[in-house]
Amino acid sequence: MTAPANKTPRWPLWLLIAACALSLIAGLFNHWHAHFAAEAWPGFFALIGFAAVSLLMLLARLFAPLLRRPPQYYGEESSEREVHHD
């Protein structure tokens, strides 16, 4: 996952932001049948979604140096296979 080239179109991002905003607004007008109090908080699920992805990517960056090893670590060859053009 590297940063995309600068020529990546911007409209998908704006579309995503618009969809996010719509889901937030819909949540404000919804009458929640909550089993936990938190479910009815405005934007609770939005917060969980955004925070969880950020947290997981942060954890991945933290654990990367601990858990990543070179490809030959277990003394195996690469998993390359033959290519079929038929």
């Binding site: 479910e39 699920f45 997981l56 990517m57 070179p70 490809p71």
Partner: protein, 566 residues
């Protein structure tokens, strides 16, 4: 005798044996038709139908049709048909023969009415599936063969644990029927370990990540469908409502996520995704209410399909490019547009986007957790829902089909059998997502569940959209974890590195001790002789003391010499 041909599993066994020796056209036709005949047979078997036989003092029932077994047998047969269509592109006898026998063993397992039949089919899935692992390389090297052996060993151990549990159960209850077992029952712990090993419980899971990505494109599709879901079925039948499954499921759903983000092989990333989804099912079984059991069964049904679809899409990429390493792929949507589309359907299904199969089924488990006020489990399932969105829903399609192109080699769209199989699987994923009622009607407890409520839709959309926003923003500012070639340490490190290292250290410590004792013995032999002779000559071979001390000295010397020999 003829009624035994009504057993869908035996139909698959027979077809597998023929398809393994038949040529491309005949073998391929049999491989695709046999599971369809199996479906037709299964649907026409009445609920409660069974075939029994006597085995010594016990009755075994190799065929028992009830609602729980039916759902799993049906999805196994569908998965067998779809994966065999996909495998036509690779045209391998092993895929047809071992693939059908493996599917038959799984079907036989979920239709087995007694523990002995369950055990036999349980071990047969291990034997047939290891062929698919070994078949992954045309000329398997040493590392590949050893990986297959590791897989086989753990699968066989799972079967032996099941056998121990079964013997304890049969001795104490006097019958062999497979019904609810529970943790406290005779052999309960053994059953739980056997099922847990095959279900990939935390720390018992790594055989999956080790072996699955080593199979061929079609082989991994088949592997992903049967073994783990057979274990989910066994848990649902034997351990519904077992409290310890709640936290096991929560850990299982969340722990694989971080590892999946570090992994570079996309098929291994998906295996972590599969492991995490198994956690949802285990948690549902732990909750144990009718809705939760139905949710676990429905989610297993949906999971077989979308996992197959995702492994088909990555398998097609492997077929055309020779690799599934994220760091070497990207930008394939131009050359493989249809595969890209099918992969996105799979991604939306596993991420549980509304109108896709994951949403219609996973919601039942999450709702069941909320209805029972299991706050921590519910939060863990939310976290895992976001996690699977991240690695299987966003990262896998992005790394393979979007993002920067890393190679300039020309790539063609997947061959037609692969496209047909992916199209059919994608259709099923969408059909379940849009019209979930027919699937709900098949579930063991026939729960009436309303999935398209404003609460479900809004909460899930917020979760997924804001999760995606965080991913896109992280990509833009370069904060997302980078893909690079390499090995990610997981629990297999314990038996591939730590255990051999401990063994080597223990061995060298033992060898050092033996050398030290040997040196002592040599010193004693050299100098002890002198002491021995002197003590005798001084005392003129007399006196009780010298005799006993001489004998003691001899004994010690003998002992040391013996020790050195060891």
């Amino acid at each position: 005798m003829i009624e035994w041909l009504l057993h869908p599993a035996y139909q698959l066994f027979a077809a597998g044996l023929i398809a393994a020796v038949a040529g491309r056209r005949v073998g391929g036709a049999i491989a695709v038709l046999a599971p369809l005949i199996g479906i037709a047979t299964l649907i026409n078997l009445p609920d409660g139908f069974g075939l029994s036989a006597g085995l010594g003092p016990y009755t075994i029932q190799p065929l028992r049709v009830d609602r729980l077994g039916f759902v799993f047998a049906l999805i196994f047969l569908i998965a067998a048909a779809l994966s065999q269509i996909f495998a036509l592109a690779e045209n391998r006898r092993v895929l047809r023969g071992a693939g059908l026998i493996y599917a038959g063993a799984a079907v036989g397992g979920v239709l087995a009415g007694d523990l002995i039949s369950l055990f036999i089919h349980w071990e047969l899935t291990a034997l047939a599936s290891v062929m698919l692992v070994w078949d992954g390389q045309r000329k398997p090297d040493d590392a590949h063969l050893r990986a297959g052996l590791r897989y086989l060993l753990l699968q066989i151990i799972s079967g032996l644990l099941l056998l121990i549990g079964a013997v304890m159960w049969i001795r104490s209850t006097g019958h062999a029927r497979f019904e609810h077992i529970g943790f406290g029952a005779p052999g309960g712990l053994w059953f739980l370990l056997a099922f847990g090993l095959k279900c990939a419980f935390p720390l018992l899971h790594n055989w999956m990540h080790d072996a699955y990505p080593r199979a061929s494109a079609s082989g991994t599709v088949m592997l992903s469908a049967f073994t783990t879901k057979l274990a989910v079925y066994a848990l649902a039948r034997g351990f519904a409502g077992t409290d310890s499954l709640l936290w096991i499921g929560a850990l299982m759903a969340t722990l694989p996520i971080v590892l999946s983000l570090l992994e570079n092989d996309l098929r291994r990333v998906l295996t972590y995704g599969l492991n995490s989804q198994q956690g949802f099912m285990v948690a549902g079984i732990g909750i144990g209410t009718p809705l939760a059991i139905d949710g676990a069964s429905a989610y297993a049904f949906a999971c077989v399909l979308y996992m197959a679809l995702l492994f088909m899409a990555t398998g097609a990429v492997l077929h055309r490019t020779g690799t599934t390493q994220a760091s070497e792929l990207g930008g394939l949507y131009r050359s493989m547009p249809l595969t890209t589309l099918f992969c996105i359907v799979g991604a939306l299904s596993i991420a549980a986007f509304p109108l896709f199969s994951g949403f219609a089924t996973k919601s039942m488990i999450v709702s069941a957790a909320a209805y029972e006020h299991e706050l921590w489990l519910w939060l863990a399932l939310l976290l895992a829902s976001v996690g699977v969105l991240l690695h299987a829903g966003l990262r896998t399609p992005y790394a393979a089909f979007f993002g920067p192109r890393r190679s300039s080699a020309p790539v063609r769209e997947a061959p037609w059998p692969m496209l047909v199989a992916m199209a059919l699987t994608a259709l099923l994923c969408i059909a379940i997502g849009v019209f979930p009622q027919p699937l709900y009607a098949l579930l063991p407890h026939e729960s009436s569940y309303k999935v398209f409520t404003a609460d479900h839709l809004i909460s899930q959309l917020q979760l997924l959209l804001f999760g995606s926003l965080a991913f896109v923003l992280a990509l833009r500012v370069g904060l997302a974890p980078r893909s690079s070639r390499g090995v990610v340490l997981d629990s297999d490190w314990l038996y591939r590195r730590a255990a051999p290292a401990i063994w080597r250290v223990a061995l060298s410590v033992w060898a050092g001790l033996m050398r030290l004792l040997g040196a002592c013995a040599r010193w004693l032999l050299r100098h002890g002789q002198k002491i021995f002779v002197e003590s005798f000559s001084e005392q003129e071979l007399g006196g009780v003391w010298s005799l006993t001390s001489g004998a003691a000295l001899l004994l010690i010397l003998l002992g040391v010499w013996l020790l050195q020999l060891l």
